[in-house]
Structures are given as C-alpha cells and as structure tokens.
C-alpha cells in the first residue's frame, strides 16, 4: 500500500545548522500519527518540507506517492495544513478568509460541512480575525485545514491555545478523518497529548527520528516520577533497585524515577517513614531519558523543556 507520508533520508541544512539529519519515516494511510519532540527538534521543518514551503538539502519526501517537491500541486490538493504559528489576514472576517481558501479548491467546496465544523468548534466566523482570541484563531485554522475533506491532514501543534473542551471536539474531528480513510499527521511536544490522540508515534530529537512506536508500546514503557519527603533521610543507595533511578536529593526530599512498573519502588519507599509523596506525569524528557537516549545527556533545549 502506498504510504500516506514517507520521508526518505531527508536532510535540511540552514547554513551551518543541521535542522534535519536524514530522517526516514513511513506513515500508513488511515492512521492518526503523532510526531513528538521538544521544541527545535525539527518537527516544523519536516512538516514544511511536505508542503514544499522549504526544500530538503537531500533526500525525498512523498505524500500519497507524490513527490513533495516535483509534484507539489498534487500533494497540496490532497493535504489540509495547519501551520504551527498560524497567521491569517487580520483585517479579513473569518468567513471571508475561509472563502478565500475555498476558492483554491472550488471542486471541493462544501459549505454545509464547513458550517458544521464551525458549529462543532463553536467558532463565530462573522467577526474580524483581528478580534478573535488565540484559541478562536486556532479554530479557524483547524476549519480551513479540514473543510475540503483532505486525504491527509497535516497539523503542526494543533491543540496549542485550545481549551480542554475544544480539544475533545478536535479529537472527535480527527477521528472522523480516519473514519473516512484519511490520515492525520500531527506534531506535538506534549507526550500525554500524543498518547491520547494518536495510534502511532515518531519521536524526533535534534533532527533525528529516535523511535517509531505504536502508542500501546509507548504506554507499556511507562515512566513514573515520584517525589518523596521522608522523616529522616534514607541512606545512599537505599533505592538502587533494578528499573529505579534516584534523580535528585534535596533536604529530606528525594526525586525518584521508575520504569517498567512502580511496584518495586513503592515497596522500597515504604521501608522508611514517609511525610509527603507526590507523583508526576512523566514529561517527554523523562521518557526520553528512560528509554531512548540513556547514553547521552539532554541538551540545553531539552533540559529547559523538561523543567517547563
């Protein structure tokens, strides 16, 4: 079967900066595919190559078998795209903007569906874009990407600025795309979001794909982070157990990380009098550290990202 999206050895250099260091990726049609990585990892660069906004230094990208550079028009006819930093014509009204976008694919105009999308997202298109909040602008971006029922939907950080309720609607909308055999490819820097929305995930880091997994596999690679305050500080090495890592000591508080199940850790902690205990959602960085990049310390951007 022709993959919906395919990167083959794609390299992108900006001067001396290497943004993509030869990525290979295959996205099968009919799936929701998450593209996960910290900011600056190369997600946007890869996505913009699909739309022929930028040209790869080497390698080739294809959408539904069409070369993204040489057959870009074929690609763009079939792709709905939401940029990461969506900017629209502020002086236009929402509906005028949608009319403009519609005018490029007259054969796919579907006012009823467009209206339905706006209704579901709760977007008022009669207002000037300048007057819309960030979340509402993002809704407008989602509508313009979806309204012509694209075969492939490419979304760069789609949920940024959306409140949780609208994120639910968004999840339903992309489910609809897959239900009619479309493909959704979206980037995110939030692990939990990718887990919630997608079926497969590629993890990108410093311009390289470090892992491609089914979400089920990713979930089984659970990471737990626990911050425990003890009455008295346990001796060093008290938590030197398989699958457990002591990350930091701060007074009587110890930050611990466990992979492959939390049982051993809980039992180890219980040996000492506990004053307080907090568990945290593992950050993307925690997962990176635990499974994919143990050998190499995180760079500055990732550290910042992990602490955010």
């Amino acid at each position: 079967m022709t993959p919906a999206i395919e990167f083959s050895g794609v390299v992108k250099d900006y001067g001396r900066t290497r943004a993509l260091a030869g990525i290979d990726l295959r996205v099968e049609p009919g799936r929701i595919f998450g593209f996960l990585g910290p900011n600056g990892a190369g997600k946007t660069t890869a996505i913009r190559i699909l739309l022929d906004l930028i040209r790869p230094t080497a390698g080739q990208a294809r959408v539904l078998g069409f070369d993204c550079q040489r057959q870009s028009m074929e690609v763009r006819r079939r792709v709905g795209y939401l940029p990461g930093d969506l900017r629209t014509y502020d002086s236009m009204r929402g509906d005028a903007f949608l009319d403009l976008i519609d005018s490029f694919r007259p054969e796919k105009r579907d006012p009823a569906y467009r209206h339905e999308l706006c209704e579901r997202l709760g977007l008022d298109v009669s207002r000037q874009i300048r007057a819309l909040s960030r979340g509402n602008k993002q809704k407008l971006g989602i509508v313009q990407a979806l309204m012509h029922r694209p075969d492939v939907l490419v979304l760069d950080e789609p949920t940024s600025g959306l409140d949780p309720l609208v994120q639910e609607t968004f999840a339903a909308l992309i489910e609809d795309v897959v239900a009619r055999d479309g493909t959704v490819f979206f980037s995110s820097h939030v692990l939990s979001e990718v887990e919630r929305l997608s079926q497969s995930v590629a993890i990108i880091r410093q311009g390289q794909i470090v892992a491609v997994e089914d979400i089920a596999t990713l979930k089984s690679r659970s990471v737990h982070v626990m911050e425990v305050t003890f009455e008295r500080l346990p001796p060093p090495g008290a938590f030197a157990l398989p699958g457990v890592r002591e990350l930091r000591r701060d007074g009587n508080t110890i930050r611990l990380q466990a992979r492959d199940g939390i049982d051993a850790l809980v039992k180890a902690v219980a040996r000492f009098p506990v004053v307080d205990l907090r568990t945290e959602q593992p950050s993307l960085e925690d997962v990176f550290l635990a499974y994919y990049i143990e050998k190499r310390p995180p760079d500055e951007e990732e550290r910042r990202f992990a602490s955010a």
Partner: protein, 280 residues
C-alpha cells in the same frame, strides 16, 4: 486567483485613494495656477545649470513645459513609492507577517501568487494615475494652457512604465533580500541614486554617461508633453521591468519560504555567502 487579485486591491484601497487624491489635487492646482504664473515666468531667466539640477531643462514658460516641470517630473516619485511598498509587500510582506504559510499550502503556485499581486498593483497604479488624469480633464479644457486632454492622457500613461520598472525591481530585491525592510531600503536607495544620476549627468558633461544608467532618463519628464513620447524608451523600461519580474518569480519559485518572517536564516545565509565569497 481572482480572489487574490480582489484581495490585493482591497488591501491597497486606502493607499490608492490617498495617492489618487494627491495626484488629483496636484493636477487641478497646477493647471489652475498656470494663468497667474504664466506672465511672471516669462520674464525669469533660470540659469541652465540650475534648471538641469532641478531636473527641468524644460521650457517652463510654456504650458506643456510648466506642467512637465510642476507635475510630471516628480509625481512619478510618488508612484514609485507606491510601487516599492507593493513590490516588497507582495511576497516578503506575507513572509514577514507569517501569512504566507497558509496561502502557499493551498494548490496554487508561487508564480500565481506573485502574478495575482502584480495584477492588483498594476490596477492600483492605473487607478492612481487616472485620478490625476481626471484632475486634468476637469481643468485643462477651461484654461488656456496650450495642452489637450489627449496630451495629458499620454503624459499620464507615460508614468506607468517607470512605475512598473521599480515595482519589478522591488519584487526582485524582496526575493533575494533577507527581510522586507532591507529590500525596501535597497529599492529606495536605488531610486534616489538614479534620480540624482539623471540630474547630475545632464549638468556635468563628464558625467553624462550616468544618465544612461538612470530609469529617470528613459522616463524623460518633459518628453510626452513637449516633444512627444519616445516609444523606444517606453519599450526599454517595460522590457527591463518584464525581465526583472520573470527573474523575481523564478527566485521565489526556487527559494525557501521563510518562517514567521524573521528572515533570520536568510540573513545568516546571506552573510555567510558574502564572507565566503570574500574569503574564497
């Protein structure tokens, strides 16, 4: 694509109205003051050198000469400012504001985008010039200025080729420069320099070759009204404009679209290329 043209026109509507109004007022004023100035101008002897430096080696004591000096010698500069704003705004402006990503993600080629914006700009320029022409048409028939409406029509139309040339130049500069501001600065510098080339070249014999480098020489402020249009000059201006336009479009087709319009990468690339070519 028609919608893009409409949008371009809509976006430029106030600009076109402002410039148009300026041209209209200037046309009406220039023609209306002619009767009172005619007699006093006839007795003034302006030194030849000063005339040339002012860009007017024109018989300003005649109606056609007066209008050429008072209107047609500098109004093109206004039109050129409009052209520079539009030319640098066409694509680089959308890159700066970041709106280009959504636009170019649609099934439309970059050439089509540039073409649509160019059509809108040309229509705008014609409209501005038409406002001025209207001013003449309402005054010239009633004042003894020795100029027909047809003459001013030709003179007004003659301002368009140089406008298009600077539009195409701006478009090209915006295609190669890292930011819109750099492109606009470059275009304005070029307009100013060539304006003075023309003035200087016609004053100082040793520098007369400079005039041939200046689009303003080929525009020739007084020609249409005083001596008739030189079609070879019109052809040359339009030819260069067309060549620059094609080159710009090709550049846009080939290069990356900058993100969020920071132009940061392009600037870095440019600096790198410059330093490398110097080193090499």
């Amino acid at each position: 694509m028609r919608r893009l043209v409409t949008k371009g026109l809509f976006d430029a509507r106030w600009q076109v109205a402002d410039y148009g109004l300026a041209l209209f007022i200037m046309a009406v004023l220039d023609v209306s003051i002619w009767p009172s100035y005619k007699d006093s101008l006839a007795v003034i002897e302006i030194p030849e050198a000063l005339e040339a430096l002012l860009g007017t080696d024109l018989p300003i004591s005649t109606g056609p000469g007066f209008l050429s000096a008072e209107y047609f010698s500098w109004i093109p500069v206004l039109l050129i400012v409009y052209a520079v704003v539009q030319g640098t705004g066409a694509v680089a402006g959308e890159e700066s504001s970041g709106t280009i990503d959504v636009l170019l993600a649609q099934p439309i080629t970059r050439t089509q985008v540039v073409l649509a914006k160019t059509v809108a700009t040309v229509i705008g320029a014609v409209a501005i010039v038409a406002f001025g022409l209207l001013g003449f048409a309402l005054t010239v028939p009633f004042i003894d200025i020795d100029v027909s409406v047809w003459d001013v029509f030709l003179a007004c139309a003659n301002m368009l080729p140089i406008t298009l040339l600077f539009y195409a130049l701006s478009l090209w500069l915006a295609a190669v420069a890292p930011t819109r501001a750099v492109a606009a600065g470059g275009a304005i510098a070029f307009v100013t320099a060539t304006y003075f080339f023309n003035a200087l070249g016609s004053t100082v014999d040793a520098l007369s070759w400079l005039t041939y480098l200046s689009p303003f020489y080929y525009y020739g402020a007084g020609l249409p009204l005083v001596r008739g249009i030189d079609w070879s000059h019109v052809g040359l201006l339009l030819g260069v404009a067309a060549a620059l336009f094609v080159w710009s479009v090709r550049t846009y087709e080939m290069r990356d679209v900058s993100i969020g319009g920071s132009g940061e990468f392009a600037l870095r690339d440019l600096v790198r290329r410059l330093t490398m070519s110097r080193a090499g």
